[in-house]
Amino acid sequence: MSDTDMPRLLEPGKRDGRDPNALSFREARPASICEVASWPDRLEAVANELSKSCGVNLPKGPGGFTAGGGKRLCWLAFGRFLVISEDATTTAALKERISTDDGSVVDLGHARYGVRIEGEKAAAVLNKAVAIDLDIAAFPAGALAQAPIHHIPVLIMRLDDARFDVFAPSSLAQAFVDWLEDAAQEFGYHIGAPGGLS
């Protein structure tokens, strides 16, 4: 798909709220996203294959992700993974590599909209809706969680102390962005140009 076909929900250059430098938002656009499921007795085989295909270590368990080489391997729940990649061929490659006897691969490349949230108040703005302890000690870099924000089911990934990526369903992307910009008014924010996973 071409860049211009995508809906532009976060308007680059926009500055609003109390201190526009307090927080920065931008679209986080991977080239592919897919959900991978393993059958209960094939978890190890699928996990190892994902680790190998993505070129990253396996996360320690559900609720974590590992990243490298433009790919993120997210362990959502028992037997369920999400692979987010800057490589548009990743989903197709995984469909080739994960046998039906081991599990399944579902393309979600259009189904999710990612937002990078960066700044000292990033956790504070998320905690307005998210009832998860986002203190760096409790939710360290490499942690992920699925939670509702304003009734919208989102995937929250912590990149480091002050950076999160949040993925929302595409049909609720505008509603999520509306919520985010409103919640951030108290701190202030600016919107940067869309980017990838780095």
């Binding site: 579902v106 595409s170 049909s171 919520w179």
Partner: protein
């Protein structure tokens, strides 16, 4: 009372910063650091409000959150807040407040006539007067009664202020930042824990501002400043002031309300007025303190009577004297100590009346040295002065008999400070614990057994003197942090004594007329309590409800224990035997705005949008809600009515071609070696036998045999299906499938995932649909032979890959064109543009509904949770040779009853619309069923409808009345076959 500003003192005010403010239209001045209460008191304001029921004049009673009388309407305009305690409002420039519950003015209130008729307004007045009179009588009087009673009035216009909500997580939550709370915070923070200290006041320190004596060689208030500064400097401590923890819930989750900018006329840019905190705490330390208790006596509500701790707080914190000639009435040493401290602060204290025969050691001498006359073994029996205290009547008091003795003396005073002991603030402990336990020594209720993970310390735990508070707080903080308590590290306290055990004087015997108030905020008297007992409402819970004792906005902070004591005496029992009511949230009123946060108006729920949402809006689409989705109802052309618009759109589908946005349909990806087997169990028909590249319409039942949802299943591969559901049923169907895979058939190797947001869909319907698609879709043979009805094919529109299924909801030749979500708009606009030469029009929900009604296709209007497949004429889709969910129950007698309602069509015989919801009635008025959906049919050129009708199929051809009593309408209808158009499907198979 005639308060005034003292020449010196006032630890919290800045005499260099004067602040002008307005009360009841009159300008006053105070200092930065004042509360509205202290500034008004300093300016000589006597009256602060009128009482709830009797409209009696009332003055300040406290200096803190327990204030029962001084409730005001803060701010004019739409962001006005009623029932605001003047004691909790920080003075700020431009502050405007008005008294409430009075007409026409605070000084002259016509409703004070209620007080003259008070003997008719005793407890239970409403029950006794209106029970049995019937609703009309009550409704007639209700209007007047509600106008006569009550406190502040909420406004009806929208509040323009911003309200926020947030979550906080902490290792140790400390509620209360008095001496115990400060020490608990220090101990927990020393152990490296994340500590959140919350206090409802604007400054931490509790009564350290008023205490005499020293801690670690510093005056108590200086030690408080140092302790607060120490905590504020720590990275692991957050001090949250102006925040009231109002509720204690399961799993150590507490609710708190922060007055973020309530101390400003206008909040700063983007600043909320209030913020609600949901606090998730691993451990909680309750250092909620204690509230001084009144003593009940005749005339105890006169303006000028206030708690002794309040009189001391006004002098010490704000440099304000409660009056020019002050008397103190007590049953414990707090009264004497307050009298001494006040004298030292420059307040003219003329007398101490103490119910005890003798005072604590050294106190008598100290009082005499300050010129305070001591009346020991005495009690105040009455007050003089209605709108301002002028004097009190004092009699001798025999503590053993609880009776007045000797003669009466009149003591002139314009302020009477009262101390009846201390009531630990056990509200939160009670919410999250066992019943409060009465302590005979302290004559107070203490926290019961914890049912959540909390520790009580300080005053609330019965540690009433400062040294005990400091030790108890430190111990609790260390315990909450899992650290070792070190007694040797405790600060050293000098010259501060705690209150002695109070003499149990709850109510002074009456020596004449005059009401004895127990609950000042709800106007409940001691006689009301006794009346309740006499009339059989003897349980504390009944007492509370019958008299409304403790049910006001202050939750009985100054009244509960006295009420219980009076009830106990009336019942001839001990207070322990009578027990206490349980406290429930909220401890303090919480603004509705803080609870709602930003989830108000258009922000109440999120809106789901398809990729074509903005296109619809820019092309005349009038949107309507469909769950969270917004979908176009019609695309209105200038001058069209709604009906004209949808009839035009529907007719165009029958005659030419139309497109409709079907991206909202639920879509579920089903994959795995057992996918076919799984879908055979989920659907009533043989989905597993569908060939690759084909789709099939299917039904799902609930376990009880009732219809659950319908949709199509597309077989994309041997082990891969794409299942569509109704828009409304998407989430429920996915949950249904996941439940069965997780819990019932875990052995099946099937994975389901929502792909509703992966695929955008456009339905292209009409006799020219194929012609249109053939001009724009590449790499795909759309001929009837290559892509027959229910066939699936891949193709391309421009560079965009699309998946095309030949499916029809309209009854015309139709296709659903699916693309990636982000390409949906491009596909839609390409189809629209290419279709214009074919007469294409987009159509909305109304036209789609019209087309399906003409065809007799079902939606959730018919699948209403009560109907079966057979009821809707879909019984043929129920396979007989395989089991599926609901198969066992669908044939039970009740569902096979021939009298059940069945779906039929209706035709309006008099050319009138047949509103959905109309009942189909017989001549004798019996309902035989109801209308589920109606439309004006462009094909039948009249109004038609679908309906569920008893013995429906046998009634085809009958004439019935469709009654719609809401609009007093009755339409004559003919019962017809539900398929009004192209019953043999010839228009599909072309």
């Amino acid at each position: 009372m005639s308060g005034y500003r003292l020449g010196k003192g006032g630890l919290l005010i800045d005499r260099e910063k004067e602040i002008a403010f307005c009360f009841d239209g009159t300008m006053h001045e105070g200092y930065a650091g004042d509360t509205l209460a202290s500034a008004l008191l300093a300016s000589g304001q006597t009256l602060f409000g009128r009482s709830f029921k009797y409209h009696r004049p009332r003055g300040l009673y406290s200096a803190g959150p327990e204030e029962p009388n001084a409730l005001l309407e803060l701010r004019p305009g739409p962001n006005q807040v009623p029932n605001t305690r003047a004691t909790m409002v920080e003075l700020h420039e431009g502050l405007e407040a008005n008294s409430q519950n009075r007409f026409p003015s605070l000084g002259f209130d016509l409703m004070a006539v209620n007080d003259r008729f008070s003997r008719f307004l005793s407890a239970g007045f409403y029950y006794k007067t209106f029970m049995g009179t019937g609703q009309p009588v009550w409704h007639f009087f209700e209007h007047f009664i509600r106008r006569a009673a009550g406190l502040g009035r909420a406004r009806h216009d929208a509040d323009p202020d911003r309200y926020e909500k947030t979550n906080a997580f902490t290792d140790v939550l400390i509620v209360g930042a008095g001496p115990a709370g400060l020490m608990a915070a220090k101990a927990a923070a020393d152990a490296g824990k994340r500590v959140l200290v919350v206090d409802e006041n604007a400054q931490a320190g509790g009564r350290l501002w008023d205490e005499g004596g020293e801690v670690d060689g510093l005056p108590t208030h200086e030690w408080a400043r140092a302790a607060i500064a120490d905590l504020e400097a720590r990275g692991n401590v957050t001090l949250l002031l102006r925040t009231c923890v109002y509720g204690y819930y399961d799993d150590n989750i507490l609710g708190a309300s922060e007055r973020v900018s309530e101390h400003k006329k206008t909040p700063g840019a983007f600043e909320p007025r209030h913020r609600h905190w949901t606090i998730h705490a691993k451990k909680v330390v309750l250092a909620t303190g204690a509230i001084e208790r009144p003593i009940a006596f005749a005339g105890n509500d006169a303006p000028g009577v206030m708690l002794a701790s309040a009189g001391l707080a006004y002098a010490a914190r704000y440099g304000v004297a409660a009056g020019r000639r002050v008397a103190v009435f007590a049953n414990n040493d707090s009264g004497a100590r307050a009298a001494i401290a006040l004298s030292d602060l420059g307040v003219n204290v003329s007398a101490l009346i103490d119910a005890r025969a003798s005072l604590g050691e050294g106190l008598t001498g100290a009082l005499s040295a300050r010129g305070v006359m001591v009346w020991s073994g005495s009690a105040v029996t009455a007050t003089k002065g209605r709108r301002a205290l002028k004097s009190v009547i004092v009699s001798g008091y025999d503590a053993d008999r609880g009776a007045l003795v000797g003669g009466r003396e009149t003591i002139a005073c314009d302020a009477l400070l009262v101390s009846g002991g201390w009531t630990p603030t056990v509200h939160l402990a009670s919410q999250a614990g066992g019943p409060p336990v009465f302590d005979e020594t302290l004559q107070a209720f203490l926290p019961g057994e914890p049912r959540e993970d909390w520790i009580a310390c300080g005053n609330v735990a019965g540690e009433l003197d400062l040294a005990s508070c400091i030790e108890g707080g430190t111990r609790a903080g260390a315990e909450a942090a899992g650290a070792v308590f070190r007694e040797d590290a405790l600060p050293k306290v000098h010259g501060v004594c705690g209150p002695e055990t109070p003499l149990p004087v709850w109510e002074v015997p009456a020596a004449g007329k005059g009401k004895v108030f127990v609950d000042l905020q709800n106007d409940v008297t001691a006689e009301d309590v006794r009346l309740s007992e006499r009339e059989g409402f003897r349980s504390v819970e009944h007492l509370k409800r019958y008299t409304t004792l403790g049910m006001a906005a202050d939750q009985g902070k100054t009244s509960n224990v006295n009420g219980l004591a009076i009830l106990a005496r009336a019942r001839g029992q001990s207070i322990r035997e009578v027990g206490s009511t349980r406290f429930r949230p909220p401890y303090q009123p919480v603004p509705i705005g803080a609870i709602a946060g930003r989830e108000a108006g258009a922000h109440l729920m999120p809106v789901r949008r398809t990729p074509m949402h903005d296109w619809h809006l820019s092309h005349g689409g009038e949107m309507m809600e469909a769950g969270l989705w917004m979908r176009p109802q019609i695309y209105r052309r200038e001058g069209e009515t709604l009906e004209e618009a949808y009839v035009r759109e529907a007719r165009n589908v029958r005659e030419n071609v139309g497109i409709v946005d079907v991206s909202t349909l639920g879509k579920i990806d089903v994959q795995g070696p057992d996918a076919a087997k799984f879908l055979d169990l989920i659907y009533t028909n043989a989905i597993g036998k569908v060939k690759v590249g084909k789709a099939r319409y299917g039904l799902m039942l609930r376990e009880d045999g009732i219809l659950f949802d319908d949709g199509t299943a597309w077989r994309l591969g041997e082990n891969h299906y794409l299942v569509t559901t109704t828009t409304a049923g998407a989430a429920a169907v996915l949950a249904h499938m996941e439940y069965y895979l997780s819990a019932i058939w875990p052995e099946l190797k099937v994975h389901v995932a929502s792909v509703s947001d992966q695929w955008a869909g456009t339905a292209v319907a009409g006799p020219k649909a194929r012609d249109l698609l053939q001009t724009i879709v590449a790499d795909c043979d759309l001929s009837h032979d290559a892509l027959p009805q229910m066939g699936i094919a891949d193709g391309r529109i421009g560079e965009i890959e699309v998946k095309i299924a030949r499916l029809s909801f309209s009854g015309e030749l139709a296709y659903e064109v699916y693309s990636g979500w982000n390409e949906g708009l491009a596909v839609w606009t390409a189809l629209h543009e290419a279709g214009l030469p074919f007469g294409l029009m987009p159509y909305g929900m109304e036209a789609m509904g019209t087309l399906r009604i003409e065809k007799g296709h079902v939606t959730h209007a018919e699948m209403d949770g009560r109907t079966t497949a057979a009821d809707l004429g879909l019984g043929g889709l129920a396979a007989k040779k395989k089991p599926y969910i609901g198969s066992a129950m669908q044939d039970r007698p009740a569902l096979a009853d021939p009298d059940r309602e069945a779906m039929v069509g209706l035709v309006s015989k008099d050319g009138e619309p047949i509103p959905a919801g109309s009942h189909l009635v017989t001549d004798d008025g019996r309902s035989l069923g109801h209308v589920t959906a109606f439309a004006f049919s462009p094909m039948k050129e009249t109004y038609i409808a679908l309906a569920l009708l008893k013995q429906g199929r046998e009634r085809i051809g009958d004439t019935l009345e469709a009654a719609f009593p809401l609009k007093n309408k009755s339409i004559t209808v003919a019962v017809a076959d539900p398929c009004f158009y192209d019953k043999d499907g010839s228009r599909l198979n072309v």
